[in-house]
């Protein structure tokens, strides 16, 4: 299983950003298969991108922020930004990344040595594909009110309950689960525990929830007396809330990375060129607004990236990127439907004169999601009002 060729490792953080960028880009551009570039699908499943996943793992470049001792690249925030930027620029596909981005960092920070030794290599090898079991039908934005229970029974916990909005659970074999272990806790945040659960355990049922694009990004996961070894608890029992909140760190900046609207604007430009819309001054005016919004999003992103680059930490104010980015993405895709005119009646992609296509409707529908997920924009505004503007609650 762990028989990849020796990864090419060095102290990446000692390089300049430009040096690292050049090295990374060169290899990725040579290695990432052409048919996986700029995929129409936002969330390919593991099998569709396995080739690219394994290539990254062999190179040792699958996990940008894990320490090198665990097979990561050990990138600091500045280099991580370069990694993500180049990834987007070259149109690499999103890989099932909950193991790399969520379970891995959580175990590295809070896991036992045994947990690390067992699970981390299996993430890199692709043997374990993880998903995130946080949300529940009545605990979406308000996660603290979750009800899925884990009851101690000897060396095991017995899980009962239901998770929802579990991204790609139907293609995963492990789930990072938040469960309630104390119903009597004074505050609902207390009494929550993080567990590592094998999805192939008896009593687990996974059901897909097709989205607006009729793709199965999301799942419901049902637990009916599912037994989990107690050694699969991460951190302390009843102390999982802090763990779940701790992981995101500097990666919140990527929720506002300009890559999605950038891609969408490129599609708009292609369609507009093909349809002759740039000859219409009214369109040019609207396009210029969107173009400058994107440019300015880049400037704002850079202002926060600079903080990380200089070793600082990000405050709650970084959410401004997510707000602006997700709403810009929506506006761009709405303008694309306007340019499509009568053709906005089609569900499938719009043909261009050069034989290419623009996935106008695909993007329009996809753009509904980022403003909802990852903390809805309404929740973000509540947080910003309190944390950044210090507004009173009375």
């Amino acid at each position: 299983m762990l028989t990849q060729a020796m990864p090419e490792q060095q102290d990446w953080n000692a390089l300049t950003d430009a040096e690292f960028r050049a090295i990374f880009r060169d290899w990725v551009d040579r290695t990432c298969p052409a048919h996986l570039r700029f995929m129409r699908k936002q969330r390919p499943v593991f099998d569709e991108v396995a080739e690219w996943y394994h290539a990254l793992a062999r190179k040792g470049w699958l996990s940008p922020v894990w320490p090198q001792e665990w097979g990561g690249m050990g990138l600091n925030a500045a280099k991580h930004i370069v990694y993500v930027e180049e990834w987007a620029r070259l149109g690499c596909p999103r890989i099932p990344d909950h193991g790399i981005g969520l379970t891995g960092p959580l175990l590295i920070e809070f896991g036992t040595e045994e947990q690390k030794a067992h699970f981390l290599p299996r993430i890199l090898s692709g043997e374990h594909v993880w998903c995130q079991g946080y949300s529940e039908p009545n605990a979406g934005s308000d996660l603290a009110s979750l009800r899925t229970s884990a009851v101690r029974d000897g060396d095991e916990f017995v899980i009962n309950g239901q998770k929802i909005w579990t991204t790609l659970a139907h293609c995963a074999n492990w789930i990072l689960l938040l469960a309630r272990t104390d119903k009597e806790a004074a505050k609902p945040q207390n009494g929550i525990t993080v567990l590592l659960v094998d999805l192939t355990s008896p009593g687990v049922v996974v059901r897909t929830i097709p989205n607006l694009r009729e793709e199965a990004d999301f799942c419901e996961v049902f637990f009916d007396n599912v037994r989990v070894p107690a050694k699969n608890v991460v951190g302390e029992v009843n102390a999982g809330w802090a763990l779940a909140k701790a992981v995101l760190g500097h990666e919140r900046i990527f929720l506002g990375a300009p890559s999605r609207p950038e891609y969408a604007l490129k599609r708009l430009e292609l369609l507009a060129e093909d349809r002759g819309a740039f000859g219409d001054a009214a369109f040019r005016s609207r396009y210029a607004k969107l173009r400058l919004d994107l440019y300015d999003l880049g400037s704002a992103f850079e202002r926060f990236a600079k903080v990380l680059r200089e070793g600082g930490t990000l405050g709650a104010d970084v959410s401004v990127l997510k707000l602006f980015c997700t709403e810009l993405y929506q506006r761009i895709t709405e303008e694309t439907l306007a340019v499509a005119g009568e053709e906005a009646r089609f569900y499938d992609d719009l043909p261009l004169g050069d034989g290419g296509h623009v996935d106008a409707m695909n993007l329009f529908l996809d753009a509904r999601a980022p403003a909802i997920f990852g903390g809805s924009n309404e929740i973000q505004r509540n947080i910003l009002a309190k944390a950044v503007l210090g507004l009173p609650s009375r």
Binding site: S135, N138, G140, S141, D142, I164, W165, I209, P210, N211, L212, E214, F218, R275, A282, Q330, E334, L337, A338, A340, G341, E342, E343, A344, R345, F346, Y347, D348, M361, F364, R368, A369, A371, I372, F373, S376, N377, E378, R381
Partner: protein, 364 residues
């Protein structure tokens, strides 16, 4: 809640609403949408038949064409009710448009028969007249042969025949072609509202009977477009109003942080703005349905633009307020969004309609 508040002295409109409500109780709109989409169909024959039986297809036809000879108010109410119930058959493009086109032409026996069949739901007669971008398609009649491709055709696979708007020399002609005509090819693509749209290619198809030509035809076409846009506007107004109601219900019941979502002031203001958009769509349709003859064209441009903007904006915001649930296919609110997008893009998006209004006004 927003409704197109038309006078109803003899209760005709209430009857229409009741009749559609009964129909909708049978033919579950959202379920039909999903079923038709899964089948890759262009319409649901059962629902279409039900619409015919309820008299909806014959509604805009004159009595001598077997129609009910009802006016703009009745059409408005019928289309609004379809929108509210999410009955997503191609009513405007496949009943109102060919119906009002035929009704506006100098009548003869054949034309009356055709229209009557349309009203009874026996004839399905898509009009071939648009190119891929919705402009006039380059269909040519030469030596009694038709050639060219029409796009954006609703109901092409279910068609019993086609009304072909072609050019002969410099003159427009309207031809009735049986669906079985040789040299006729249909290629269907999925539409966003769960019904396919087709391109129909004609390659040296022997022309059938010429139904009309010249200025009379152009006038009829202009009238048919206006009436169809009114139906589209009303349907969009119905969609927006109903999507608002659904969202009010959902947010008033969904609890987060120990409170219903609808009790948060920011959400309340959002819902009020959505309600205002629905109100304005309804009053714009009311105005178009009751405008004096000379003002109908402008009133309809305004109503279609307003109702289209309103329905798409309301349904987009409705998705957001439904949260993760709104992003799923199982939640009906997404179907309202998709239908709104489709109708908004049919016969002119708002920007185009507004510019047409302005041009007409500034030319006057």
């Amino acid at each position: 809640m927003p409704l197109i508040q038309l006078d109803d002295p003899d209760a005709t409109l209430a009857m229409l609403r009741d009749s559609l409500a009964a129909l909708a109780a049978e033919a579950d709109g959202p379920a039909t949408f999903r079923r038709r989409r899964a089948a890759g169909a262009d319409l649901d024959p059962q629902v279409w038949r039900a619409l015919a039986e309820a008299g909806f297809l014959a509604l805009p036809l004159p009595e001598d064409m077997g129609g009910l000879a009802l006016g703009r108010p009745e059409l408005t109410v019928a289309a609004e009710a379809l929108g509210r119930s999410l009955i997503t058959e191609p009513y405007a493009t496949l009943a109102v448009f060919p119906g009002t086109l035929l009704a506006a032409l100098p009548p003869d026996e054949h034309l009356r028969d055709l229209a009557a069949g349309l009203g009874r739901g026996e004839a399905i007669l898509p009009v071939l007249w648009q190119d891929a971008r919705g402009r006039r398609a380059p269909l040519a009649l030469t030596d009694d042969l038709l050639t060219g491709t029409a796009h954006l055709v609703a109901g092409a696979s279910s068609a019993t025949g086609f009304l072909v708007l072609a050019a002969e020399g410099g003159e427009p002609v309207l031809i009735h072609l049986p669906a079985s005509a040789p040299g006729l090819r249909v290629v269907a693509r999925p539409g966003i509202d769960g019904a396919t749209l087709a391109s129909v290619s004609l390659h040296d198809v022997p022309a059938g009977r010429v139904l009309a030509r010249g200025a009379a035809l152009e006038t009829a076409l202009t009238q048919a477009i206006t009436t169809t846009r009114l139906a589209l506007a009303a349907e969009l107004a119905g969609i927006g109003a109903r999507a608002l109601e659904i969202t009010v219900d959902y947010t008033a019941n969904r609890v987060q942080f120990g409170k219903t979502i609808a009790s948060f002031q920011a959400i309340q203001h959002r819902l009020v703005d959505m309600w205002a958009e629905a109100e304005f769509a309804c009053s714009a349709c009311l105005n178009a349905a009751t405008a004096p003859e000379g003002e109908v064209a402008q009133a309809v441009l305004a109503a279609k633009a307003r109702a289209g903007d309103s329905a798409t904006a309301i349904t987009r915001k409705a998705i957001q307020l439904h949260g993760a649930m709104g992003f799923t296919d199982q939640c009906d609110i997404g179907l309202y969004l998709k239908r709104a997008i489709a109708l908004n893009a049919t016969l002119g998006q708002p920007e185009e309609l507004r510019l047409a209004f302005l041009s007409a006004e500034r030319a006057a």
